[in-house]
């Protein structure tokens, strides 16, 4: 794979430099849905450059944990840091956030009312217009949450977990348990959407057809083709995702996630519903992604052959709690794991 080596991300370089530091570090992670505790106080870390698997019976909380990392859910307790930066934690002091939105408009409004009461009507009316005008930028900043705004909030101790799209910018890519491709877009377009966070041309650049936009698009098409070839789907670039065979759809999801140049790739049951040949190919792909690109991988999987084949470490969840952790062989021999899967008594039998 010659193109694979050229696409090697920055994480590959750092992999050798700091092999021991965990890329993702979850501390006492708890997620409650109403009264149900889906994930209970889990400590979990993913070493840089490793493949870590998360297994457990149905309803063990694997996908919930996964979604917490991907920024889909707010956390009930605990915190997750990625690359040394806290990205998910329980929201803190969010009540204070509106102060920033309404500070300037409120001052203007008070002045306006004052002016109207005193009887300087034109100035009062002008200030009311200014109030309305001030609301709009405040609203835009609050909604789109640019980086400087989040940093400013952090200085005042206000914290909100990163959104899914911010997670992608940080370097976390994911696939879905039930395939969620953009069904009516072509394979190539799907992968190009995956590149969204690594592209920088603004709508204005596109509208004016600036060179910056054109060069970026050309490079994106080329890269997207490379990724499609990388997952072994050359020739399917222009096929609508919905028309692809099942195994190809799964691989296209991986290509789409890789296109965002993740440091950490979250794979949610990548071989679900596959036949043995497709499963083997997917397993090889996963191993290849780590080897060629230096991408760290978190894998949720039911197929034990896959898990035991590629994982450096396996973590077992049951009823939202971590019951075992270790190398594939250790986990396989662990009585609590056997009990969770096969029931009490099976371990001693």
């Amino acid at each position: 794979m010659t193109e694979a080596t050229t696409m090697t991300t920055a994480s590959a370089a750092t992999a050798t430099a700091a092999a021991t530091a965990p890329l993702l570090d979850a501390r006492a992670v708890t997620k409650r849905f109403g009264g149900l505790v889906a994930v209970r106080s889990i400590d979990f870390d993913i070493p840089l450059g490793s493949i870590v698997s998360l297994i457990g019976p149905n309803g063990a909380g694997k996908t919930t944990f996964f979604n917490v990392i991907a920024g889909v859910y707010e956390l009930s307790d605990g915190e997750i840091s990625f690359n040394g930066e806290v990205v998910v934690a329980r929201p803190r002091r969010t009540w204070a956030e509106p102060i920033f939105w309404f500070l300037i408009p409120t001052i203007l409004l008070v002045l306006a009312i004052g002016a109207l009461l005193v009887g300087i009507v034109p100035i009062g009316e002008g200030l009311i217009l200014a109030t309305l005008a001030a609301v709009i930028p405040a609203l835009l900043v609050a909604l789109t949450r640019p980086r400087w705004y989040v940093a400013m909030l952090a200085r005042f101790g206000i914290f909100r977990s990163s959104r899914p799209n911010e997670m992608v910018s940080l370097g976390i890519g994911r696939t879905f348990q039930n395939i969620r491709l953009f069904a009516n877009m072509s394979a190539l377009e799907n992968v190009m959407v995956g590149m969204h966070s690594r592209m920088h041309a603004t709508p204005a650049d596109a509208a004016l057809r600036l060179g910056r936009h054109r060069r970026e698009e050309e490079a994106a098409v080329k890269d997207a083709r490379k990724w499609i070839r990388y997952v072994g789907m050359a020739g399917y670039e222009n096929e609508a995702a919905r028309n692809l065979p099942y195994g190809h759809q799964r691989r296209l999801e991986v290509a789409r996630a890789l296109a965002s140049q993740p440091k950490l790739l979250l794979l949610d049951e990548p071989t679900a519903g596959m036949n043995p040949v497709e499963t083997r190919e997917m397993t090889e792909l996963i191993a290849r992604v780590r080897k060629d690109l230096g991408v760290t991988i978190l894998l949720i999987e039911h197929d034990m052959k896959v898990v035991m084949g590629v994982s450096d470490r396996v973590t077992v969840l049951d009823h939202g709690e971590k019951i075992a952790e270790g190398s594939p062989d250790e986990v396989r021999a662990n009585p609590r794991v056997i009990e969770a899967y096969l029931g009490r008594g099976a371990a001693s039998a």
Binding site: P164, N165, F182, S186, M192, R214, A234, A240
Partner: protein, 399 residues
């Protein structure tokens, strides 16, 4: 990007034939080809209007005036297509932005405020004003989808005309604002104010605006933003998980759609010389939406054609149908207590009945619209699975 992505779209599926290399040429010179196409349409329409049977329906001048008016609706349909067709956000209050554009120009160039700012810069100001209100509407609806979104936008569409109606002091209420200036070229090409009698300058102006809008929309459609819109429409969670900021993307759809309506509003106010709140009722939103749906959601040329067709059907088609039926002198049928007198029906009043009928038929027979986008067609008519097609497989990896 025309050079980069066009081969993907054009040559891809294998079904598209490249007639004399035209398709490739259009792909590489997109904006130029849009200009050429609009110029051809601009020349063909007035010619068609002097050919039978159309010359029997009105003078060429009437037709051209009608086309200029139709152009306003083409713009509305193009803008609404961004919100509904590209981003998949159902907007039932689109006329509000049209009204905002129109009133912006009314304030800037009428006796009501005493200002007289020229038409051309106000096009931009009207578009920006409408875009700001687009963001204001978009902001509270970000978490809503489908029916809920439709209801909120419907509310917004009702609020705006009501505000213009009741804020008497600022809008002159029911009477609206009159005496709005016409566009002027200040002597360029010997043209001063456009006036009310000659429809040709308006016709050329609206076509120029449409050309620019279509060029910009095509560019946006083929950009990172255009892909983000489609991704958002297809699957919001997946889009967010691929790094798309759903908030920004939705707000951009709302504001770009609204700005197009703002352009239409400025032109409309200037052409008519007056604005009143009742010009921006729900019917306008509905008509624009019907144009988008019937024309073919997501396809820029499709919705433009849909708008022109629907506008002409409702302004000329119904009138001629009415005249035609009256000319037949059908005898009134008396079936017991029921009197059926087709000759007495005023077809112009049946506009919305016929709309409804057309929409129902369309949804049953051709849900993707008259001129669907490739994607929309794919969505509504499942193609055979790949395995059944003889598709190239150079890797030979499939089992």
């Amino acid at each position: 990007m025309s050079a980069a992505v066009k081969p993907v779209k054009g040559s891809g599926a294998g079904g598209a034939r490249d007639l004399f290399g035209l398709r490739t040429w259009f792909g590489h010179h997109q904006s130029l080809s849009i200009l050429v196409i609009v110029c051809i349409i601009a020349m063909v329409l007035p010619v068609v209007s002097v050919l039978p049977p159309f010359n029997g329906f009105g003078t060429q001048k009437d037709w051209v005036a009608g086309f200029a008016q139709a152009g306003v609706f083409v713009l509305l349909a193009l803008g609404l297509n961004v919100v509904v067709g590209f981003a998949g956000l159902l907007d039932l209050g689109y006329a509000a932005f049209f009204a905002i554009g129109a009133y912006t120009f009314a304030y800037a160039a009428s006796g009501f405020t005493g200002l007289d700012i020229p038409f051309w810069p106000m096009l931009l100001v009207g578009a920006i004003t409408a875009a700001i209100f687009g963001v204001l509407l978009g902001a509270p609806t970000l978490r809503l989808r489908g029916d809920y979104l439709a209801i909120v936008t419907l509310g917004f569409g009702e609020i705006v005309p009501v505000v213009f109606l009741n804020a008497d002091k600022y809008t002159n209420g029911t009477n609206g604002i009159t005496g709005i200036s016409q566009p002027s070229l200040h002597g360029l090409f010997g043209i001063y104010g456009f006036g009310f009698t000659n429809p040709w300058p308006y016709y050329v102006t609206i076509l120029a605006i449409i050309t620019v809008v279509v060029m910009l929309l095509y560019r946006l459609q083929d950009s990172r933003l255009g892909r983000a819109w489609v991704a958002l429409r297809e699957d919001e969670l997946a889009a967010a998980s691929m790094g798309i900021n759903t908030v920004t993307t939705k707000l951009l759809a709302f504001s770009i759609g609204a700005s197009t309506a703002g352009l239409a509003g400025v032109f409309y106010a200037s052409k008519l010389g007056s604005v009143t709140p009742d010009q921006f009722q729900f019917q306008v939103s509905f008509t624009a939406l019907a144009m988008v749906v019937l024309g073919g959601m997501g396809n820029i040329w499709g919705v433009a054609a849909g708008a022109l067709i629907i506008y002409e059907l409702q302004s000329q088609g119904l009138k001629q149908l009415d005249a035609f039926v009256k000319a037949l002198h059908l005898p009134a049928l008396a079936l017991g207590p029921i009197n059926i007198d087709i000759g007495a029906i005023n077809f112009l009043n049946l506009q919305y009945l016929l709309y409804g009928l057309a929409l129902v038929l369309m949804m049953l027979l051709r849900p993707e619209g008259l001129f669907p986008s490739r994607r929309r067609r794919r969505e509504l008519h499942e193609e055979p699975a790949v395995d059944e097609l003889t598709s190239p497989d150079p890797t030979g990896e499939r089992e």
